[in-house]
Amino acid sequence: MEVTIKIFRYNPEKDKRGHYETYKVEAHENDRVLDVLELVKGHKDGTLSFRRSCAHGVCGSDAMRINGRNMLACKTLIRDVGANITVEPIMGLKVAKDLIVDMNPFFDNYKKMLPYLINDNPLPADGKERLQSPEQRARFDESTKCILCAACTTSCPSFWASDEYYGPAALVTAHRFIFDSRDEGAEQRLHVLSETNGTARCHTAYNCTEACPRDIQITKAIGELKMAMVTGKID
């Protein structure tokens, strides 16, 4: 089938502002949007630039706006979006070139969450694993699925309004550790989250949950963080 794909183009070395180019390529309905981008780059215009790596939705490289919604290009098939496709960079981060945005502010926010297990207690004397029940493990399972693709953060109206906001992805990271029974850094992280740019900026628009390609219930996770801050309890 013939696919018509309209792509946002911006080359800071040449263009004053972004514009759109439209390409037509032959593709199959089971092809990924990423396959179509590769075809355009391979045969129509080699200068088209985008990030990609694993091509099956686990590395988080290719989040973009496809027909107005944040998705991974490698996890979106033509049969799901139709033969007329518009592709644009994710919003709220500076466009570096075409579909590539500057991800550094995103990772900076991630790092503010103290994204590592905090537990200064001695390890078990036998040198073995810290014990954790299957129920304790299940408590934070969902937030371990995050691939840091930024689809959530760049779909969030609060993030568009202020890029000082840590954003949903960072909050999911905080959740992953705060609700891990082995971790003892909840107090430090909740303190970070209580700052102006923390959970207070979440207005439960649910865009993040809808955008997440890993089906993480992000708004719910943020709700649990807010509850923990109010009650001082983690459960």
Partner: protein
């Protein structure tokens, strides 16, 4: 001129091996990790089923059994001293990951949960043993995240989205690397005492692969150009269960949880090929079985795929026939919920890419190019070894998939890749830092970056008669069909000719993007030149080995030939010509014998 940086240890690549090396090297030496990606995009994150260690959390297991299974899995080509080292370190390595915060699944007592995997056995009974420590079906993702988190905690220095293009060697010693900063197109020279390559594999030389786009063999190719040999490049693993046509991996953990392979006649065919462990035989054995079924006309509707079936009714039926039980002795039974909890990502992939629900439908699968057993030759400390006498290159290290220790020999056991990168990443990091503490910086030659600069310029000034995208597809097709699961003299000879023709035609490629910022077209073209180099080496190494062993199966030499071929291939390229030598296999405890599953 390029920007110059100085670090005692440079790690190239930020997957599992690179991060582990970075963590350990940075404890004792000024270290930087350079990656062409953001570290969390690395391909370690795609590993699914588990990491092996004889923890024995459900039932008796021993490092000795793990060692024997690995030796047998390697079809006796693995070096047994290195294998023993790895399997002895395995338990502590997995526990260390837990201590770092890795969220493993848990047993009812709260210990790390383990599942059966291909070739993991109780050596006394021959029955499958639960050895693969897992976190759902995203164990690699958890390892990558956990190691990156530890690097943040420990303030490891990163150069994200810097792609290493060249290695600098002075007087036979590692001196640094040259990298391009993707966001600006600037070249940077990194002056170092020690360089660790952890650049991953090169599965993208094949048409159907589970590997990421970035798996283009950069590290292997860069070192080959500097006269460093590559070892056992003919041994490439085809994983039995890739999603039909797409090659996306369906973890062996699915079969660990009880899934079986079904042919077009509706038969479970693995008992014919591996009577004892059946669907949990080694990957090379299962991939060949699938190929043979398809060749015999037993594919689904006569096509080139078969089914993987994890529907609870199927799993429970065959578990009962096999007498499989839970650790407490009760019959092994699963439900739809088990499938959703144990392999959630696989369920997601099948729904998204195939429109198939594994709980109620069978999954169409075919073997997919998955893992490079071969690579940069090293010893168990990650030191690069260039001959059969143990000669090392001072300051040069390699770890992870790009390296060949060799612990995988002719065929890697499932879950040993994650173990490999954690164990050998750590030791390469430790050894490199130790070396750097006692070494001086070599003098950096003037214009160290000029060679790669002119290589890149040439790509922009080609005639434009050829298109890189098309050349790439031609390479992938010929490698998959003629240097794939089954090989023979005629096909490999023509594949080698074809690859050499493509190398010539590559000189006519012209990169149209003349810009500096994120010039991905330029870097993709450069990566293609690496892949063409690697494809040639793979085909030539394979053509030379006149036997069948592990992942290298020939129609024209069907038997393993220990008398003539129990040896590692070492291939080098000098003045454009390939040269093949061999070195002996280290055999300590297990003499080669027939390999039956």
């Amino acid at each position: 001129m390029s920007k110059v940086h100085q670090f005692e240890v440079i790690v190239v690549g930020a997957g599992g091996a690179g991060l582990m090396a970075g963590l350990y090297a940075s404890r004792n030496a000024k270290t930087a990790v350079i990656s062409k990606l953001y570290p969390t995009r690395s391909h370690t994150g795609a590993a699914q089923g588990g990491i092996s260690a004889a923890l024995g959390n459900y039932e008796e297991d021993k490092p000795e059994w793990h060692m024997y299974d690995t030796v047998k899995g390697s079809d006796y080509l693995g070096d047994q001293d290195a294998i023993e080292f790895m399997t002895n370190e395995a338990i502590d390595a997995v526990l260390e990951l837990e201590h770092m915060g890795l969220p493993f699944d848990r047993t009812p007592e709260g210990k790390i949960s383990q599942r059966p995997f291909g070739g993991h056995t109780n050596n006394e009974t021959g029955k499958p043993v639960r050895r693969a420590a897992h976190a759902a079906d995203r164990t690699g993702h958890m390892i990558l995240q956990t190691l990156y988190q530890q690097c943040i905690k420990n303030n490891v220095t990163f150069f994200d989205e810097y792609q290493v293009l060249d290695f600098i060697m002075v007087d036979g010693k590692a001196t640094g690397v040259v990298a391009i900063e993707l966001a600006t197109g600037e070249l940077h020279t990194f002056h170092a005492k020690a360089v660790i390559f952890a650049t991953g594999g090169y599965g993208r030389i094949f048409e159907v692969t589970s590997n990421a786009y970035v798996y283009t063999g950069d590290g292997c190719s860069i070192l080959l150009r500097h006269g460093i040999p590559l070892e056992d490049m003919e041994f490439f693993q085809f994983h039995p269960t890739g999603i039909y046509k797409l090659g996306i991996l369906i973890t062996e953990g699915a079969r660990g949880e009880g899934a079986v392979l079904i042919n077009g006649k509706g038969e479970r065919f693995m008992p014919k090929y591996a009577p004892t462990v059946k669907d949990l035989a080694s990957r090379d054995v299962v991939s060949r079985a699938i190929y043979n079924e398809i060749k015999a006309g037993n594919g689904i509707d006569g096509k080139n795929y078969v089914y993987l079936d994890i529907r609870p009714e199927t799993v429970n039926k065959f578990a009962a026939l096999d007498g499989r039980t839970n650790p407490d002795g009760s019959p092994y039974l699963i439900t739809g919920d088990t499938v959703l909890t144990k392999i959630p990502d696989i369920v997601d992939f099948c729904r998204v890419y195939l429109g198939v629900d594994p709980v109620t439908q069978m999954m169409p699968i075919q073997p997919t190019a998955h893992y490079a057993m071969g690579g940069i030759p090293t010893n168990k400390y990650g030191e690069v070894v260039i001959d059969d006498k143990g000669t090392t290159v001072p300051g040069l290290y390699a770890a992870g998939e790009c390296a060949c220790v060799s612990v995988h020999g002719a065929n890697r056991l499932g879950t040993n890749s994650l173990l490999d990168l954690v164990v050998f990443g750590k030791h390469a990091g430790l050894k490199a830092a130790e070396y750097a503490k006692n070494a001086d910086y070599q003098k950096m030659p003037d214009g160290a970056e000029s060679s790669i600069r002119s290589e890149l310029e040439a790509l922009k000034n080609g005639s434009g008669k050829e298109n890189a995208f098309d050349l790439s597809n031609e390479m992938k097709n010929v490698m998959f069909s003629d240097v794939g699961i089954y090989r023979n003299e005629k096909d490999m000879t023509s594949a080698l000719e074809k690859v050499r023709e493509l190398q010539k035609r590559f000189k006519e490629v012209k990169v149209s993007d003349t810009g500096k910022i994120f010039n991905t077209e330029l870097l993709n073209a450069w990566e293609l030149s690496n892949m063409l180099e690697i494809a040639e080496v793979v085909a030539a190494s394979a053509l030379n080995r006149k036997e069948s062993r592990g992942g290298h199966a020939r129609d024209d030499y069907q038997e393993r030939d220990d008398e003539n071929w129990l040896k590692h291939t070492l291939i080098t390229k000098k003045n454009g010509k390939l040269e093949i030598k061999y070195k002996p296999v280290v055999i300590t405890k297990h003499q080669p014998k027939a390999r039956v599953y």
